[in-house]
Symmetry: C2
Subunit: 157 residues, 2 copies
């Protein structure tokens, strides 16, 4: 197992917690000097808050942990490709590197629909690695939405 696969495992643990509480299962961790300084999972429905994506919550926790808004020296691991908001937050926080699991063809803003996290137009470019443990990350999401559809088909709340 590579270092990236190992840390993606930590993000997957967060995603599984999101799944367990009925949230879209996406998890994130931020690594600084080989330590996980922030872990988070999607909390949009629970809070409820439109900005409570795993990546944004992890970035906010990492800023608190380091006492600075610049997350240089840090790598974000997230199970699913970041949306425009989260890709923008990656740039704003000057994260060195982003590693994600599965692609998001509907809202992905790192590679799929937009390339915001390393855009030559913005004042910071993160290094990107895509597709780490992508099958596991995608399976969790597929399973979540399949069960959700089944529930709504059967009239369950």
């Amino acid at each position: 197992m590579t270092k990236d696969e190992f840390y993606m495992g930590k993000a997957l643990e967060e995603a599984k917690t999101a799944y367990a509480v009925g949230e879209i299962p996406i998890g994130a961790v931020i690594i600084y000097q080989k330590k996980a300084i922030a872990r988070a999972y999607n909390l949009r429905e629970s809070l409820p808050c439109a900005t409570a994506h795993a990546e944004l919550l992890a970035i906010e926790k990492a800023c608190r942990a380091l006492g600075r808004w610049r997350l240089s020296g840090c790598t974000l691991y997230v199970t699913c490709e970041p949306c425009p908001m989260c890709a923008g937050a990656i740039v704003n926080s000057r994260l060195d590197r982003v590693v994600y699991g599965c692609a998001d063809p509907k809202a992905g803003a790192v590679r799929s629909l937009f390339q915001l996290a390393d855009s030559p137009l913005l004042n910071h470019r993160a290094s990107i690695t895509a597709g780490v443990r992508a099958d596991e990350c995608a399976a969790l999401l597929k399973d979540f939405f399949r069960k959700k559809r089944k529930k709504s088909d059967s009239g369950q709340p």
Copy 2:
């Protein structure tokens, strides 16, 4: 004075508070049924937190105020064109409308560099009005950066 100019005045008040505490002077308010349900100003340095832009903080406050993550029925007023993170948050929160003051040629993601807030690629498009009280909004920013440069030229902290 139009309704938009009036509400932009409230965002300008927030921007002036940011100025007074040494933050880049950008302010935002969110209006729902003619009431300001959220007001915020940039707090990046004070917290410190990379995501603490006026718009994001206002969206989070509005979600708390309404008890839901969908801000349909709401309009965001912000003194400066939103960055990619904030434009993404506008889409994620399903805001009906965004009214901004001055353009941001370096990071603007509503009209200048990207057009994220009403992109046909994403699952929500906000209605956009640009340039409301733009001169006042821009003057505040110019003045802030001019004073900052003067201070650093003179060796003051």
